[in-house]
């Protein structure tokens, strides 16, 4: 009990006495945790955007002349992967053609009867499901032909997939770096007191008693860094999202406070764990060195 009280006092004293170094450590930890948090938010947003883009994946199924459009829609709805369907009548098709090729579409009308086929627009959940769905659609008796923007959509999702993968790699590198940086910082901070550790053990301090203040110091610094990073992250993220939403209204950015709250919590936990482990590892080595007799 008393030992813990003394350790807290000494840990705090270590921080205050070397406040310049403490500030730098906190700042370093903060940068690293900020990078981790930012990468995570980036990945999550990319994922969100990708999934919303995937939502827009549609397959156009043209029906045979005289086919029952309602029955066809029902049959297609029953297929796996299909998320949404929309029937498009001849008139609607003409309207679309007109908007696509301009007034020249009137020429088509010269035929007297609208020659365009009825079709059904099908939405699926994922880019990977498009090809499979298309295969199934061919088997539907009412369907004569299918058209889907396979390439373009896949291109888009693949770019996003690449971005996502890259970000995850960056995230892992950042986490590894954070561990190393904290470990390094705390270890060097202990390093400058290697002699003191020896003296303390010479006058009867147990290794735990000696290690505790350093561990507490490292823990507080790491925690402070993570906390600051969380605050900064939430702040900049909301500012950024607000501006980005104006710029890119069609992109679905994540705005839930639940998410950022969770992320901040995770960062702080991560900071606490990493700093605790690295302090322990850092101080352990010196304890062992100091207690090794000549």
């Amino acid at each position: 009990m008393a030992a813990v009280r003394y350790a807290c006092r000494d840990g705090w004293r270590l921080i205050v006495r070397h406040w310049g170094m403490s500030l730098l450590t906190v700042f370093t930890a903060m940068s690293v945790f900020f990078i981790i948090g930012a990468s995570t938010l980036f990945v999550l947003n990319v994922r969100n955007i990708v999934s919303s883009l995937e939502n827009q994946l549609t397959i156009q199924a043209y029906l045979k002349p005289k086919a029952d459009i309602a029955a066809a829609e029902k049959a297609i709805k029953a297929l796996p992967y299909v998320k949404e369907t929309k029937a498009i009548t001849k008139d609607m098709a003409l309207e679309r053609l007109r908007s696509r090729i301009g007034e020249q579409a009137k020429a088509v009308m010269l035929l007297g009867e609208n020659p365009l086929p009825e079709s059904i627009e099908i939405k699926v959940r994922k880019a990977s499901e498009v090809a499979e769905t298309a295969r199934l659609l061919v088997a539907v008796p009412e369907v004569e032909d299918i058209v889907y923007a396979g390439r373009v959509a896949e291109k888009l999702t693949r770019v996003s997939g690449f971005v996502e993968k890259f970000s995850i790699v960056m995230l892992l590198v950042a986490i590894a770096a954070s561990g190393v940086v904290l470990f390094n910082t705390i270890r060097i901070s202990v390093y400058s007191r290697a002699e003191e550790i020896g003296v303390m053990m010479m006058v009867g301090a147990t290794s735990t008693y000696v290690a505790l203040p350093f561990v507490i110091q490292g823990f507080i610094l790491g925690l402070a860094g993570a906390l600051l990073a969380s605050v900064m992250l939430c702040g900049t993220y909301y500012a950024a999202v607000t501006r980005l939403k104006d710029m890119l209204p069609f992109l679905p950015f994540i705005e839930s406070t639940r998410l950022t709250g969770k992320l901040a919590f995770m960062l702080v936990c991560c900071g606490a764990t990493v700093s605790l482990i690295s302090s322990l590892m850092a101080v352990e080595k010196f304890i062992r060195k100091a207690s090794r007799p000549l």
Partner: protein
């Protein structure tokens, strides 16, 4: 606590023989001067007792415990029962004089009030109470030495090891400190004191063990300082 060296040899890598085949028995409550020219091995002998140094050969037992067999945790407890005045003081530079002494008691988990009382008492005893709030680098050489002595005696150890405890003290203060150590010895603490102070050894006569090139070359009750070396 009694001390027993049996055939202790310490060779520092690669070939410095600091101690050679030492047999030494110090009984509980004894007062022993350790003398010898510089570099003869006095400090090394003392560091063997605190297990700062482990002998290359031979065995040491202190207070009935074989040092070789003691584990890491027990070693900490064992050291709490020994007071050491290191030749180079080894004070904690980031703690004030007061805190340096208090540290020894904090390690033992004493309540703050008792710590404060005992530290005050011992700081007054060695005469640096006025300097209690300074850090070791701000103290004069003699004040640091007295602080080191205060730290060594604050927890009433059963064994006091003092390595050159008067090297930075003027003759008068040295005499005072010597009286203090003799008082502690009179109260039952075994004292082992390495010194070059001829005046003290010749004035306060006690057992003298002379080391020369790592060997015990003289061991007499009520001895004098003179260094005969091997002769």
């Amino acid at each position: 606590m009694d001390i027993k060296f049996s055939g202790v040899t310490k060779i520092f890598e690669p070939d410095i023989i600091a101690l050679e085949d030492i047999y030494l028995q110090v009984d509980k409550g004894e007062f022993v001067y350790l003398v010898g020219e510089t570099g003869s091995g006095k400090t090394t002998l003392m560091r063997c007792i605190t297990r700062e140094v482990v002998p290359t050969r031979g065995q040491i037992s202190v207070g009935g415990n074989l040092l070789r067999k003691i584990n890491r945790f027990d070693l900490a407890l064992f050291r709490r029962d020994i007071g050491v005045v290191f030749q180079s003081f080894l004070l904690l530079p980031n703690l004030t004089a007061f805190e340096n002494v208090a540290f020894v008691l904090e390690v033992m988990g004493l309540p703050p009030k008792e710590i404060s009382e005992r530290v005050s008492e011992v700081l007054k005893l060695v005469g640096i109470w006025r300097r209690r709030n300074l850090y070791p680098p701000q103290l004069s050489g003699g004040e640091q030495q007295r602080l080191a002595i205060a730290r060594a005696i604050v927890n009433g150890p059963s064994l006091l090891i003092a390595d050159e405890p008067t090297g930075n003290l003027d003759t008068h203060t040295a005499d005072e400190i010597m009286q203090l150590i003799l008082g502690i010895n009179a109260a039952g603490t075994t004292v082992l004191m390495a010194t070059h102070n001829q005046y003290l050894v010749d004035t306060y006569r006690h057992r003298v063990v002379e080391i020369h090139r790592g060997r015990v070359v003289r061991d007499e009750e009520q001895g004098r300082y003179e260094l005969n070396g091997g002769c």
